[in-house]
Symmetry: C2
Subunit: 298 residues, 2 copies
């Protein structure tokens, strides 16, 4: 583990700066070196009420010893910038001796992909601050998971028994994205049936030889052994990524996604600024002019 103390104040300020950075700021910022010691990125996603925050808290407490660990919680209702919060997720006395744990809520209101606009840059910042691990907590079904999938190494999908979550997730194509399924609040009726449903569905899905076979776990925040089992499964997936040389591919996917999002955001800004006569020109001229302006570091 990192022996230097974490400079929470500097990190908090840097995250706030990034949360509010414009697309021009992003273009100006130097390419961050692709650190060899990048933090492991673990995504926790699921519908509202699935128990993500509580599970993330317990998982963090379990994994924090010996690690610098951050939780970034994407919160649709949170304002665009703000200080680090600990919220009600973990009582302060549980955090004693966990001086390397950092928790931050990030607003997502304005981003069209349901994540914070500058999340890729924030995650890189966590690398610069030498985190060993980041838990990314996201809410929602559909678009958000797809965006989150690209940003993390291991995606954990939380489902509630008898919730209809499975049907929703199947429709949105999320079943194919998750590396680990967790039936949370597993003391509720229907948990076992849901687990075997998911196992059946995921065995039906085509899996190439050598690909990761998603695991299905039952969990409950009142059962520490279920948190430990999830933690172990995450380690197993992380080891699989290393063994199969997948980190390079993940990094490339992230780079593609980041550039694409930047162009889309710049296009939106540039096009919104044009006066009506701009659109009387032939399409190819409109496109040329818009592209020139997108590239301008105004």
């Amino acid at each position: 583990m990192n022996s230097k103390p974490l400079d929470r104040h500097a990190l908090g300020q840097a995250l706030t700066r990034l949360a509010n950075a414009s697309t021009s700021d992003l273009m100006r910022s130097p390419q961050r070196t692709l650190a060899l010691s990048a933090a492991r990125r673990i995504g926790l996603t699921g519908a509202p009420g699935a128990g993500k925050s509580t599970l993330a808290g317990y998982l963090a407490l379990h994994r924090a010893p010996g690690r610098r660990l951050g939780i970034l919680a994407i919160d649709p209702s949170s304002p665009r910038s703000g200080g680090a919060i600990l919220g009600d997720r973990i009582r302060m006395d549980e955090l004693k001796g966990v001086s390397q744990l950092y928790i931050r809520s990030i607003g997502s209101r304005s981003a069209s992909d349901g994540l914070s606009d500058n999340l890729p840059e924030m995650l890189d910042l966590m690398d610069e601050f030498e985190f060993n691990e980041v838990l990314l907590e996201t809410v929602g079904v559909g678009q958000v998971e797809y965006a989150a999938r690209v940003q993390v190494d291991t995606l954990v999908l939380l489902l509630l028994p008898e919730s209809g979550d499975v049907v929703q997730a199947m429709k949105a194509g999320i079943m194919e994205m998750a590396d680990i399924f967790v039936i949370n609040k597993a003391d509720l009726p229907g948990a076992q049936k849901m687990a075997s449903d998911i196992k059946r569905i995921s065995s039906l899905a085509r899996h190439d030889e050598g690909s990761w076979r998603p695991s299905v776990l039952l969990a409950s925040s009142s059962k520490p052994e279920s948190i430990a089992a999830l933690s172990e499964e995450i380690d197993r997936h992380q080891a699989w990524l290393d063994l199969n040389d997948r980190r390079k591919v993940l990094r490339q996917q992230r780079a593609r996604y980041r550039l694409r999002r930047l162009i889309e955001r710049r296009a939106g800004e540039v096009i919104a600024r044009q006066d009506p006569s701009f659109f009387e020109a032939p399409m190819v001229q409109q496109l040329d002019l818009a592209l020139q302006q997108i590239g301008r570091k105004s």
Copy 2:
């Protein structure tokens, strides 16, 4: 009305060509003159099973006399291109004497906004073929409605009594997009209550002075007078658009949306083609290179 016969064969071929056109094709195509005699565009949207196709069929039969009228039905499950279909929506004997009615299903599978990728161009083509009116039928809640909203003058939202559609629509912000609400299958229980709910909600929503106040209608395909009432309400909204000089604004919104979508699609294509080393460059260089390639009429 247009006295020339409609060349269905030519229209069908041109639509198919457009359905399959690449972004490069779109860039090459000349800007269509913004015809003064553009077709009225009426959107019909709602969740699956709300009865859109049936209602669109009856509405078309009601409005067709004296008009050249097209129905473009965006069908998520339909293949990317295909011939014009009449489907089961209207029996052939009802179509006697309606030689100016044209119906076409268009696949949407690959488009990220839930509409067909080249829908704006297809709608322009309907203008070139001198249609007086186009009904655009779309399925879904959320993203699709937003995309459809931009393409049409009048948006009709179909809801089913006691369906939870209102809650869904409110969440997705669709309530503020519709010009006309139709409670369809209004002989089902709960229709009256839903109508007064929507009226209450829409009276709570802030309306600027002089803005269109959305109307709420009850409809049933077995009641011809309800179809006539919807048709009248559409005419009233169309007249309101003319009176308030809104067509120019609508045209501008469409032009913005079209350029933005083209850039987004091109960005996706260009970025997917890059080899990994491309992403080692600083962000601003990546952006410049990508923008050059987006503008290239490959």
